[in-house]
């Protein structure tokens, strides 16, 4: 459930290069454009009160943490499923990691046994479809268009 407040973080940098944040709250029902306009206006007022300079601004919408959620199995966070997606043409691919991947998602037979993620598994194919069909992109805003491969990796 989305929290009622969104957070604005104004990041300031001093002469030494150190940074610190002014953190403010506003309603999460507001759009990014509305919050952004207020943050810009307030930052211009705060700028005259500080010897530091504004270097970054972040607007965050957060969910409330679900109470009493427990892990459904024993796989550690470091046992990660790495999914590669194509963004078309020569554009950079996208990588999405899934921590604590379930054992049953890993192929148990064939040449990829113990390493490759089983894309014939219904849950895996549902996740892949959810990524492709919902406007997810790589960090450069190139839309993900197709799945390439997925395998198990230990990420410490």
């Amino acid at each position: 459930m989305l929290r009622p407040n969104a957070t604005v973080e104004l990041v300031w940098q001093d002469e030494t290069g150190s940074t610190a944040v002014t953190s403010l709250n506003c309603s999460s029902s507001l759009t990014i454009a509305e919050i952004d306009a207020d943050a810009t206006a307030l930052a211009s007022i705060l700028a005259s009160l500080t010897g530091a300079v504004l270097v970054r601004q972040r607007i965050k919408y957060k969910t409330a943490f679900e109470a009493d959620t427990v892990a459904s199995g024993s796989a550690p966070i470091t046992r990660t499923g790495i999914f590669f997606f194509d963004t078309g043409g020569d554009l950079p691919d996208a990588l999405i990691s899934v921590p604590a991947i379930k054992d049953e998602m890993i192929m148990s037979t064939g040449t990829g046994a113990g390493v490759l993620i089983d894309t014939s598994n219904g849950y895996v194919s549902s996740f892949i479809a959810a990524v492709i069909e919902n406007g997810i992109s790589n960090p450069f805003a190139d839309d993900i268009v197709s799945f390439i491969s997925a395998y198990l990796q230990s990420r410490v």
Binding site: D14, T19, S27, T40, V53, K60, S72, S74, P99, I136
Partner: protein
Amino acid sequence: MALVNLPTGQLKIDYRDASGTKGSTVFHFPYGTLAAVVVTVADVLSAALNALTDAAIDGYTITYAKTEDTPATPTAGSRVEEKGNFIWRTANGRTTRFTVPAIVDSVLNPSGSIDKANALVTALVDAVIAGDFAFASADGSDITALLEAYQSFRGSTKQQLPSDR
């Protein structure tokens, strides 16, 4: 000199495994995507991920970031550890606060409290209270008055704070 948005916003889904160790999955989406749309997508992706992972999903954060493309030069001697603390009264009788790192000396009283009559401070107070800003406390209550304002340093104890704050 301007704040420029990154090409994408970020959706970060947080997990906790059986040992309590935390992890996350990060998705990117075009910056122009409305937060309401991303919330819907986040719910879809969370449900799909829940079937793939042994870890519990704790929640998610949607972040839109901008970066200054040509930062100005900070004032000589400025230190972010030197905080200006602004504590505000809210409509529901509680308080909320924010800090201004590297607060300028010109708004400080000799004791370390912030001069509430200083023009720069009154401009801030007017903007926060009487302006059309959407900022409020974390529980959504309107900010109604400046309660306390003072300088402190990281590690300042309560005894070290100015008595006239």
